[in-house]
Symmetry: C2
Subunit: 409 residues, 2 copies
């Protein structure tokens, strides 16, 4: 059946959404017999509601190709849960524009919307193939080995924490404790990835706190003091979504405008709070880096695997739709074998919608303040080409000739 296609992107931007979008478009253009127009919804489902769409066939070929190396979301995104009769409105727009292939790029909220659109289309007997394309730096979608967007953000954070760790190592006599706050509302995948920064024993990060374990202030202070006593400094990665044993966020939402339409509080400020805790309770100077959205959308450290796979899930989604499949999200699976090579499969949208995949127990250290070797083995193949190589001095000491010593601060 010949028809038009609509691409919509939702949720937080990443470095590689546009690569998926490029994959969809370039694959669609290979099937002129089946596909008419290629439309993009401006700002995701909002663009559909407002009938605000752009014609992607009017773009230059080079521009489409350049999307593979352009971060964020070129079509625009949104966080918008459909309410009232908006789902019907979406269907009206689809029908008015002969949309027969509808591809939603996003996370679990997006898959919820995609699933509802698919269900209604089927109920109304309107022939439309709805396919979800996974995307989230949070890496919290079920049914897929990992999520496009995550490996690039993971690599960015690993490099940033290694660099910021070297910074603290160099100037520890002044800046003694550094906390780096990562994204992650409920899951610690991003904070966990900072463990890749370690290139030898005792190098940063020394402690990693994940929302998968209840945060205990007293234990945290003991951990920090132990590292400080051993090394003279400490570099710590914390996830923004840390919660105490009652499930209360360490950093509570400050204002009503901080809550999105799905009811999720936009947290932040954990690192700031923990720095103050360290300074007040241990009397040690602590500072924090909060790279915020830069970590999720930066292209400079993009993983080569991620760039390839995000394109791959785009082309796979288009192929699935053309084969007449609907109501599925493309997934990535990890074939057995030494050399990593991503491959795709699929899962029903309704099984993905609104479900969050947290770090499994075997990836979190027993003490709850680190990751396991198993996690690093799982992650390493995804962040090709790995981390840059830095110089390590042997530091052969010069024999002392005097006998007066000074304090080391």
């Amino acid at each position: 059946m010949k028809g038009n296609i609509l691409i919509a992107q939702s949720g937080g931007p990443t470095a590689v959404i546009n690569s998926s979008c490029c994959g969809i478009i370039q694959q669609a253009l290979k099937h002129p017999g089946q596909i008419g127009a290629v439309y993009g919804a401006v700002n995701g489902i909002l663009g559909v509601l407002n009938e605000d769409m752009i014609d992607l066939k009017k773009e230059r070929e080079e521009t489409i190709e350049l999307l593979r190396h352009t971060p964020s979301s070129a079509l625009g995104s949104c966080r918008r849960k459909l309410t009232g009769n908006e789902l019907e409105r979406v269907m009206d727009v689809m029908k008015a524009h002969y949309i027969r292939y509808c591809l939603f790029i996003g996370g679990n909220d997006t898959m919820d919307t995609a699933s509802k659109v698919d269900t209604l289309a089927k109920r109304q007997g309107y022939a439309m193939q709805v396919i979800g394309v996974p995307k989230t730096v949070d890496n919290d979608l079920v049914g897929t080995d990992h999520c496009p967007g995550y490996p690039s953000a993971a690599r960015w954070l690993a490099i940033a924490v290694r660099d910021a760790g070297l910074d603290t190592q160099a100037i520890y006599t002044t800046d003694t404790v550094k906390i780096i706050e990562t994204m992650g509302r409920n899951s610690g995948w991003l904070a966990a990835a900072t463990a890749l920064a370690r290139d030898r024993a005792c190098t940063p990060p020394h402690l990693i706190y994940l929302p998968e374990r209840p945060f205990d202030r007293a234990k945290f202070l003991r951990d920090v003091e132990r590292v400080y006593r051993k090394l003279g400094y400490a570099v710590i990665a914390v996830c923004e979504g840390l919660k105490d044993k009652k499930g209360q966020a360490i950093s509570e939402s400050r204002a009503k405008t901080d809550i999105d339409s799905f009811g999720h509080a936009q947290s932040g400020g954990v690192a700031d709070i923990l720095c103050r805790l360290i300074t007040d309770q241990l009397g040690i100077k602590a500072r924090f880096d909060k790279p915020g959205t830069i970590q999720r959308v930066s292209m400079v450290c993009a993983s080569e695997v991620d760039l390839e796979e995000s394109y791959l899930v785009g082309t796979a989604a288009m192929e699935m739709a053309l084969e007449g499949k609907s109501g599925y999200m493309v997934t990535l699976k990890r074939p057995k074998g030494k050399k990593y090579r991503g491959a795709t499969s699929m899962i029903e949208l309704e099984r993905v919608a609104n479900v969050e995949r947290l770090m499994p127990d075997e990836f979190v250290s027993e003490d709850g303040n680190d990751v396991t070797a198993e996690f690093l083995e799982w992650l390493k193949p995804l962040i090709r080409p790995g981390l840059p190589k830095y110089a390590h001095l042997k530091k052969v000491p010069v024999k002392k000739k005097l006998d007066v010593f000074y304090a080391n601060r």
Copy 2:
């Protein structure tokens, strides 16, 4: 006169200090007739006080070469003002180890220390060549066109703000205002550099606030509201060191441990405070990114010019010392001509010590919330190879067929 050399690094780390260090070492090794041992002080002047030094001739050649691409400070750094009889102790250590060439890599505090060491050596009649090697992301040293370290941090920030700006552009319906906080205690050079992120009209950053102009909350809110009304979102760069017209820092130091031994308050939190101001007063959601130390020490966006020049100032410093000069800091000058090519000169240490070079008036826009075209012309040659090229869609709208419209949030 044959003698040993001592290299000491002080102050905040950068991406390219080690490149200067490498320049000094490799240049020193070319003069075996004049130079005996090559020592590095561990953690700057603290290492000298503690007679804690390493023998750099014991390092592998490849390790020394790799320093050119290793960020932070491999010898370790400190922020330590000499007090009491510590200056005499420094001289005792120099004499005990036959240090005849002493090279201090650092900013204006470091040049103060270097100047005092030079003065005392001369007074004591101890033949030692003391040369300062400029280094600071703050770009606030006088007598030099710019400071090694600054171009790399500037390029990092420009790329980060472009990426984070694309992020807000894509998801502005939820994350409406974004503030990116840059370093800069008293000078706005780093915040100013974010202006490079703009690749066409109306692209981020829309507003830039520098400590060179007193910060006015009411005017700030008017500025933000104006941009928001025009574009529907706003991306703002602010310097951590913003002060009001009474000279009071917008973000005050929180604790005594936040003040370093030079008496400088370590500020931070400006972006957080301004986000709350926007949310409270304008009712718009605002979030902030505070890349913190990552901006100053990241190697992934290092400027090629900076890598070359930081090496160059190292070799020039060594040559100056060998020529018998003492009491000078190497400077970078900008030769006339179309194609930028850095060249070195020198200035007396005492003229640099403790003096801060702020952004000149011709680099700050009249309204005080942006930079001038003149500033960008000055900066551009320093951040080679510039910024990555991204796709810009033409966004040809699809003709509407329905007549119901929805709100755009």
